[in-house]
């Protein structure tokens, strides 16, 4: 592999960053799970139980799915904006 692929790839159009609005929306979507799990006092309790699981445990399991959902939403937002900018 040649030492620097940049040279080989020129002259290509310089890519542009995504619009600020898109970045902010994606950033917010990603910040929600971080904020939810940072607030330890909101979930460090035993009740209500669900299927034998104390709240502390099932709530964090729930966030595995929610966080994946929010990350996916951020992915969709960015992917759409990118397709839009090509038209």
């Amino acid at each position: 592999m040649p030492s620097d692929p940049v040279e080989r790839r020129t002259p290509l159009p310089e890519p542009r960053p995504l619009p600020v609005g898109v970045m902010v929306l994606a950033g917010l979507l990603l910040a929600i799970p971080l904020a939810a799990l940072a607030l330890v006092p909101t979930y460090a309790k035993k009740d209500p139980h669900l299927w034998g699981f104390p709240f502390f445990y099932w709530y964090q399991f729930l966030w595995v799915f929610l966080a994946s959902g929010f990350t996916w939403a951020a992915y969709v937002v960015i992917a759409r904006a990118r397709r839009g900018s090509e038209r």
């Binding site: 139980h49 994946s68 951020a74």
Partner: protein, 572 residues
């Protein structure tokens, strides 16, 4: 099916199953050199990054195999078994929040590395800040922090061997011989196949792990019931011993900060580790990383379920006395499997744990070898090394690193294996400013970053060293556990009082705050005196280079095609 593995001799069925899988992955490891064949393995791009062409599917297994290690299978459940939520279950929020964090900054690191041919995070720091010394600091930190993490993998393999009745007695050499043999074989195929070996073996590993965890959880749900498991755990954690509760079932208000900082500190640290960066850089595009940030939490679900097996072991009154007669919480999960599964399936579970430790150990040693070769050997010792020469040095270094980790584990205390990883986190997190913040801004001065790093490394290490706990060991005497204490031992916990308060926080986070404070103040000073800031080798466009223009995406594909026209790629 014996509840007491201690002194019951070698279990032939379990050993047979484990050996079968071990031979299978060994063959796979050597075969991997032919997989997605390159023209030549004589460069770091091929040996150390698998040709930089892995798609979403392979990257999923590689990253999963890389990040979910013996830490997940042995150390986390052991911590849950011994002291409960604060020392163990924080790993669940940790592995949840890590993915949004990756989604945000890893594509930038991928882009800039791809454009400039960077192989390690230290390569990036070198280019961004024009500072050999800062790059050296990042590289050395990466290598040091990786050592205890590899050692943790060995502790995992040892726990499995001990459960099967191998090792544990006799002199030191005979006792640890199986571990040394397993590691020598691992070293041999990593040497020949590079990153392709763990990438291929990761499929076997993850398949086995998912199988075992699903069977175990269904068994617990049907035969035992989670309600009873949580009740037993709560009873144990609330039992008062020497005036203190055994552990925490749900974090008490005094430990909210501990729980939160352990989760966030570990999450921020994870992607500073060289082995994570290696796996990410081997991906084919930015979108490979983003898609993986969406789907990798499936492993976090598995980690959470495995953590609960620590509580199941409490409920099932699993004995954790090893071959040497001493209590060892690391044995909780292997002994539980031995107890509840028939021998052949316990063998499958043990193979899963052992291979689950070998895969990350291989990637970690490759990553450490990349760091040494690029940022120490080529930078300071042999500036004109050819790619082939680099690959040769990296191969030899991967052997040296594994040997170092072996000494680490044979020599160091293994009472609290999760601490090995947390100690690594204290160090690696101190490279965050140079790497992550560096991806966004060059505001910080290179010398200020170096000073902040140095102060935080010293502070973190000294603080961790000063956390002493009683050096206790528990043995069975006439069927009753008897605990003896031999003085105090250092590095007992990764939590310490935040300066000026009595609130416990993860030492890595305190050290990072100190790091930031020093770097900010000194940056202002260096700017005032106009200290030379060096030349930035990167350009703004380098950080989002496969988007959003269609022309660039097509061109990037051309580059890959030109590199390896004969390569068959997995569907993305």
């Amino acid at each position: 099916m014996s509840a007491m593995a201690a002194n019951s001799g070698v279990n032939g069925v379990e050993l047979g199953v484990v050996l079968f899988f071990f031979i299978l992955v060994t063959a796979g490891g050597f075969f991997a050199v032919r997989w997605r064949r390159a023209d030549s393995m004589q460069s770091l791009d091929e040996w150390g990054l698998g040709g930089r062409g892995f798609g979403t599917f392979i990257t999923y297994f590689l990253l999963g195999g890389d990040l979910y290690t013996a830490y997940t299978f042995i150390a986390v459940p052991a911590a849950m078994f011994a002291t409960g939520a604060v020392s163990g279950f924080f790993a669940v929020p940790y592995t949840i929040i890590v993915y949004p964090i990756i989604f945000i900054f890893m594509p930038r690191l991928w882009s800039v590395s791809h454009r400039h041919g960077y192989v390690t995070p230290a390569d990036f720091v070198r280019g961004r800040y024009d500072s050999r010394i800062l790059a050296l600091a990042v590289a050395v930190t990466g290598i040091i922090a990786t050592m205890p993490y590899i050692a943790l993998q060995l502790v995992g393999i040892q726990a499995v061997l001990d459960t099967m009745g191998i090792g544990g007695s006799g002199n030191t050499f005979v006792k640890d011989l199986p571990l040394i043999v397993a590691f020598a074989v691992l070293a041999a195929y990593t040497y020949s196949s590079g990153l392709r070996a763990p990438a291929l073996i990761a499929f076997v590993k993850d398949g086995l792990i998912y199988l075992v965890i699903i069977v175990a959880i269904v068994y617990v749900a049907v035969k035992i019931g989670f309600g009873g498991v949580f009740d037993s755990a709560q009873t144990k954690m609330n039992t008062v011993k020497n005036g203190k509760p055994t552990g925490s079932f749900v974090p008490p208000s005094s430990l909210y900060w501990a729980y939160g900082t352990l989760a966030f500190g570990s999450a921020l640290a994870l992607f500073m580790y060289p082995h994570s960066v290696t796996a990410v850089l081997s991906g084919r595009s930015r979108n490979v990383i983003r898609r993986n940030a969406v789907i990798l939490p499936t492993y976090s679900l598995m980690l959470g379920l495995l953590a609960l097996l620590g509580f199941v072991a409490i409920h099932e009154k699993t004995s954790v006395f090893g071959q040497d007669g001493k209590a060892n919480p690391q044995l909780a999960v292997p002994h539980l499997f031995d107890q509840i599964f028939p021998d052949w399936f316990a063998g499958v579970a043990f193979a899963a744990i052992a291979i689950g430790a070998l895969v990350p150990a291989a990637i970690m040693s490759i990553a450490a070898a990349n760091l040494f070769t690029r940022n120490i050997y080529r930078e300071f010792l042999r500036p004109h090394a050819t790619p082939a020469h680099e690959a040769r040095v990296a191969k030899i270094t991967s052997l040296v690193v594994k040997f170092g980790a072996l000494l680490f584990v044979l020599g160091m205390d293994r009472q609290n294996a999760i601490n090995l990883q947390l100690l690594g986190g204290v160090w690696i997190l101190q490279t965050l400013l140079a790497i992550v913040v560096g991806l966004y801004t060059r505001w910080f001065h290179r010398w200020a970053l170096l000073a902040g790093w140095a102060v935080a490394m010293v502070y973190g290490t000294v603080t961790a060293y000063r956390q002493t706990v009683p050096n206790a060991s528990t043995r069975l005497v006439d069927g009753k556990p008897v605990t003896t204490v031999h003085g105090m031992r250092h590095f007992g916990t990764s939590l310490a009082d935040f300066p000026g308060t009595t609130t416990k926080v993860y030492i890595a986070v305190t050290a990072l705050l100190l790091n930031i404070a020093v770097a900010v103040v000194l940056t202002l000073v260096f700017r005032l005196i106009k200290a030379p800031a060096g030349t930035d080798a990167t350009q703004p466009g380098d950080y989002y280079s496969d988007a959003p223009s269609k022309g660039v995406i097509v061109a990037a594909e051309d580059v890959i095609a030109a590199d390896a026209p004969e390569r068959t790629r997995a569907p993305d």
